[in-house]
Amino acid sequence: MKSETFFSQRIFPLIFMGAVTVVAITLVTGIYLLTEDQVLRNELLFERQAILDAAGIEFDPDDIERVYEQRVTKENGWYSVQLPDDERGYVISIIGAGLWGPIEMMLGFYEDLERMTGIAILSHNETPGLGARIEQREFTEQFRGRSGPFEMVDEGTAEEDHEIDGLTGATRTTVAVGEIINRGVRNAPDTVRGE
């Protein structure tokens, strides 16, 4: 049987833990460095896709970079977009409180900064299957070509131009999204044209 010396009880565990930690960190750091560029590229691509979506510009998923370069210029806190009919459009990013956590969105406007070209959800923490449906096209497409402020109504009952179909089972998420978008609509002229 092994004798319990001071070394085996106190020193060796420390050295062992240190060695295992070094190996683990080296491995993780190596893989992180290998994939770092890819991760950054994914994030950039996702943001650009959201901007194009919000501006209502159609694009091929493999062609996001080129379409973006052609049409979008980044300004101070907002994006200037050349819309398909050569009109000028604007996209602003906005963040607000959802039901479970912050919801980050891109809001797109025509030149008058009232009529919307569309919206795109960047990130959220809403309930999967319920509130998370705000990501789906059936919900986001409703804003295209409409002017705010919007009123969220029960799913399937929207009739007036300012009424948006909410999501059944996700009332609080729907209301939160409505508030964030309405705030964005209100502040859009200030954001783009300066204080």
């Binding site: 295992v20 683990a24 994914n42 309930t127 999967p128 319920l130 059944t168």
Partner: protein, 204 residues
């Protein structure tokens, strides 16, 4: 003998010693990620990868791990593999990574992995430990996939995001909420214990 042991090690976590319905381990993630089949499958692949390789690695170094710091070492090894899964998903499957969110990181706290490391990998050779890890991961996975199948189908009328059931189907909203997972898991355990395991006990 060796082959017999390997086969036994492989089959036990799939049946009577299943980590989810027999040992009731890993419930947190069972409840959290089974709302959509696609997320569940990705999560399961992650868990299988982590259980297999962390058990294998721990078994390789088991003779040198000092007893009093073994849990620290186990956690560190498991965390390393989990972070690898997280980074790889983030780089190559960003959409799924975004949906799974914090749950990938939470594989670290999945009781199955820690439990199998403690109970099996520290006392068995690497080959057997790899098999045990793989089988535990698979045992966990098929239970989750069955639960996710019913939750997504009944909750949204879809499978893998594709509409399956027609307009006549009313979505059971509760199924995609966390409470739905409790019901599904309970029904699953009830069926398994009532139909399969009970017979064995009578036979004894």
């Amino acid at each position: 003998m060796a082959r017999g042991a390997a086969k036994k090690t492989f089959l036990k976590p799939l049946g009577r010693d299943n980590p989810v319905f027999a040992q009731i381990l890993g419930i947190c993630s069972t409840l959290a990620v089974t709302g959509k089949l696609e997320n569940t499958v990705v999560m399961c692949i992650g868990v299988i990868f982590v259980t297999t390789f962390s058990e294998g690695t721990l078994s390789l170094i088991r003779k040198w791990i000092p007893a009093r710091i073994r849990m620290m070492v186990e956690t560190l090894v498991i965390a390393t593999f989990v972070i690898i899964v997280d980074i790889v998903l983030r780089a190559f499957y960003p959409d799924i990574w975004r949906q799974l969110g914090p749950y990938v990181g939470l594989i670290i706290t999945n009781c199955i992995i820690m439990g199998r490391a403690e109970a099996f990998a520290l006392n068995n050779p690497p080959g057997l430990s790899l098999i045990d890890g793989l089988a535990s991961g698979l045992g966990y996975s098929y239970v989750l996939i069955v639960i996710a199948f019913f939750r997504e189908l009944m909750g949204t009328g879809q499978l893998w995001g594709v509409q399956i059931l027609g307009d006549w189907w009313t979505n059971w909203t509760i199924m995609v909420m966390p409470a739905g997972a409790f019901f599904m898991l309970a029904i699953f355990i009830w069926v398994v214990k009532g139909v399969f395991i009970q017979e064995e006990q009578h036979g004894k």
